[in-house]
Point group: D3
Amino acid sequence: MAVVVQNILRADQAIINGLAIAGAATVHEALGRKGLMQAHIRPIFPGARIAGSAITISAPPGDNWMIHVAIEQIRAGDILVLAPTSPCDAGYFGDLLATSAKARGCRGLISDGGVRDIRDLTEMDFPVWSRAISAQGTVKETLGSVNIPVVCAGALVNAGDIIVADDDGVCVVPRQEAEATLAAAEKRTELEEMKRKRLAAGELGLDIYNMRPRLAEKGLKYV
Amino acid sequence: MAVVVQNILRADQAIINGLAIAGAATVHEALGRKGLMQAHIRPIFPGARIAGSAITISAPPGDNWMIHVAIEQIRAGDILVLAPTSPCDAGYFGDLLATSAKARGCRGLISDGGVRDIRDLTEMDFPVWSRAISAQGTVKETLGSVNIPVVCAGALVNAGDIIVADDDGVCVVPRQEAEATLAAAEKRTELEEMKRKRLAAGELGLDIYNMRPRLAEKGLKYV
Amino acid sequence: MAVVVQNILRADQAIINGLAIAGAATVHEALGRKGLMQAHIRPIFPGARIAGSAITISAPPGDNWMIHVAIEQIRAGDILVLAPTSPCDAGYFGDLLATSAKARGCRGLISDGGVRDIRDLTEMDFPVWSRAISAQGTVKETLGSVNIPVVCAGALVNAGDIIVADDDGVCVVPRQEAEATLAAAEKRTELEEMKRKRLAAGELGLDIYNMRPRLAEKGLKYV
Amino acid sequence: MAVVVQNILRADQAIINGLAIAGAATVHEALGRKGLMQAHIRPIFPGARIAGSAITISAPPGDNWMIHVAIEQIRAGDILVLAPTSPCDAGYFGDLLATSAKARGCRGLISDGGVRDIRDLTEMDFPVWSRAISAQGTVKETLGSVNIPVVCAGALVNAGDIIVADDDGVCVVPRQEAEATLAAAEKRTELEEMKRKRLAAGELGLDIYNMRPRLAEKGLKYV
Amino acid sequence: MAVVVQNILRADQAIINGLAIAGAATVHEALGRKGLMQAHIRPIFPGARIAGSAITISAPPGDNWMIHVAIEQIRAGDILVLAPTSPCDAGYFGDLLATSAKARGCRGLISDGGVRDIRDLTEMDFPVWSRAISAQGTVKETLGSVNIPVVCAGALVNAGDIIVADDDGVCVVPRQEAEATLAAAEKRTELEEMKRKRLAAGELGLDIYNMRPRLAEKGLKYV
Amino acid sequence: MAVVVQNILRADQAIINGLAIAGAATVHEALGRKGLMQAHIRPIFPGARIAGSAITISAPPGDNWMIHVAIEQIRAGDILVLAPTSPCDAGYFGDLLATSAKARGCRGLISDGGVRDIRDLTEMDFPVWSRAISAQGTVKETLGSVNIPVVCAGALVNAGDIIVADDDGVCVVPRQEAEATLAAAEKRTELEEMKRKRLAAGELGLDIYNMRPRLAEKGLKYV
């Protein structure tokens, strides 16, 4: 039952980097409004904006042994995704693991558990999105798995899926949909730029999107 | 049932600005310890300190159509107050809506739902206090109402009430009580300044407020 | 039942300061993974890192009278620890109390209730770790106790225990274990420094800690 | 600031009783989908179904003094509605207060705080809907108010409004809308009875409500 | 994007019924400790114990239109599984929908949203496991999908997977693993029966499972 | 660090049984309003009312090994008290462990984690108060301790303290205070009986407790 899947497929790095620029909200829209992790996953410091291929970790509550195993599987540009098998906010990950992960090219961690050594991680500029911050220690006693499909914060993540994370949250793009999603995201960003200018000039969304007839038809009354 | 109330009364702008300077905690005290929103409403970035007249929005879960309608009702100095009709943390509001609201003079948003585009809103210096940060998209399918009385984060808000928001939270001042509240708040601020000096000099609250006799009478024992 | 214990024992100041440098996560490990407060206790601003002797406060919900009583008991280097007798997030503590506490040498506050005047506290550089931020006012009507044993955020605190607080959370070190804990923490910090260098150089935890044989024995499969 | 409003208006008892029969969900619909308390308010035992005129209580956290004051204001058929001024789950109400309230004709309690003596209340068949069950004691030290407007579990309640409570939750009907709401609720119940028969016979909602054309128009695909 | 997948594969009915008898906890163990929904999903009445093939529903927050669409897809023995696209506790489902679903042979509903008409559903003996009970109404405005993969309360559910639900919670068995899981569950049940007899006779687990040597080896001290 | 304390002191059985009759709310009052566990600890079925000597268990998240160790320490009349070292709602305890504990005279379990096999436990009439119900399995890999002081749901529990649990919650009575607490509880019960009769006859608490002068003095206004 405890396995490490070693040779996973990854999306093209240029596509991944494009998704990072688009950001979680735009990518989520471009993907058809799916793949978003729940809002309890928050960054430990503001301003980070990354994308990378998911190395998934299924770990027992309060046991971070599998993170060591997962780090060996990292290639430059990957992101660790940790899903405890039952809800747990213990501090699975700290500055030593971050040092190791960073040395192998890891861009960050998404944890549906806890994280610690916040000050060090901030100084290292190693971004983490997590359910909790907790100094609580973990053990290394029970196996889990690496690179199997996991549900992390309500989102299904397959190894090699693209994780897009910023201040708005974390979105998961299935590897096979990465290219199309980037294309849609870039088109969306372009359109939004035009809308932004009109809105900034004082035009109303009611007019730009021609909402007034449909509002009236639905029965909205002005009093 | 779906209405937009167009001509609402607002308090005097000088009074509103005075309340902003006093801040949420002092205003809440000056108002007789009422009107406070629940503590789950937090600012998306620290340091903002605003007051303004409430434009209220009652919106279905996951549907931000009425925000477009509400923006047309904004006058310079207003604050949007969004109350979903059932608990929802979807991302009702982002940088495009903020651009539009700001173009009309809006000072900020209070949302008992979610908000997104945090980085853009921070760069725009458009303050938001919300229940959640979420990239989750919303739809434009179902009507709600604008400028009807709403309960937002446990506080009753009538259109035109004064919203006072800072790092401590959000307080709602009924429009009719604005002037008296400002007077009480200013008196309170003045008194606090005197107390602060005495406390900073090392005097004890036990002595300044003459608490010792009443503590003894209630039965406090020193051992 | 309402008592103030006046002459409490404190640990040596040099030991306390050493624990502050070690930080909450390392101290928690050095102490044998106990004494940690729950993760809902968070700092009101990032970066603070303090240790001090606990002045404990058992207070009724929404009543901050005993904080005034507690402040008189503060000696330079102490930390206030507030435990409401039933869950409450009202704003027990603000800038006036902080001014008074600071004048007596207090290093900070741990509150399993709420706190307010965040902006002022931040400007004063007076650190607080709390369950909530709330402008909600409190009363001064019901007695509590000072310097009795309390449970704060899930951790037992006796007056004079050492509180270690930073961005990772809050750890409580029993006074009698302070010296041994510091020794263990310093050894641990030293060891971590060596590990950090090896990990930064690209060595794997799997190898440094010789995990591979035990992983294989437990049945981990690579596929 | 602490007041007891003594002569409140109540709706007609026959209308109130009719609303009890309709139940919270139907009344909420008949009222235009407003007035519902939040879902954290749950009954202490299943099966109760009541309606009555609200006697509102605004009480400090952990202080049940005002409940004694409110009980004097009860007339036969009334329901107590308790709103703490800040979140609190202490046991404000138990079998002694229930005995007193029942002796005056009270039909039940809605509490956005805690309640205790669950076994006794169940044996007395005195229904309570509350945020929490807690044996935590309260004090009688600080004034609050009776029969002022309160926000209880997210719903505005004016004294004399009709409270409708059952296993689905608690709905508040403004006194002035009681008669119209009952009429709408009874019509709704009648219509539902017809629909129930058709659905029980195997007809689909898709056909009864003629949903297929609109689904197709919106773009639903069958694959 | 909005699709209804019509011809889904189902497991053998005898296997499904066997899984119902085994119950959620045993099935979860037999499956290798995966597939469990989160503990916030609770039954609306105690004692129900069902299994069935999943008809999955992805629905917007506060919009129950797709449930009508899903009911047409039900075959005798199926269970509805509702996953809102963002967290929502509105009352998506009540006695009319239950009447319709039951007429088509539906065994129950799993809802990561809310449910209402609790008294009627209990009298109908129609079991529901849900995140919340709420009388809050929903709309029929926005499309979703039926029988696509969904994440419900943290568990991945594909249409046709077997849902096993009882007082312990809800477990999802992938259709392809149903037969092997049942075999493992039945073996486990048998083994447990033997253990139960020995434990009831006063033997200790420490001895039955021969735990003492390993406890000693790990360093457990008896004092 | 992992220890089992074997010879603990227990209170007199007659006192323990008297405390069970008094119930958690009365005992909590008699004890001076301390010792109460937090309200998230709820019984798995209504109506149980027990007291017993605490066998405490400190266990890692998701690891129930120490429960087996603890069961050997049970004497007739004891109650197990399980405190995970970090928040965890996994199903630590089920019908096999209950069978074993019951065979040794155990009266019930208090768990600040999860529990499973609810139907079996209910049929066995083995009462459990817990944070969560969850079918999630646990492991047996990491040591904890038995009969050391623990904090369970916010209350300090020493081995041999008396646990009093009923539908109102769970109260912990320090062993040394058991006799005095029982005496105070019985006096309180007697007094309440008299008050109950007067209240049932329609007398008001306002008059029985002579509250009117103090209310007037504090400034309560009747309008």
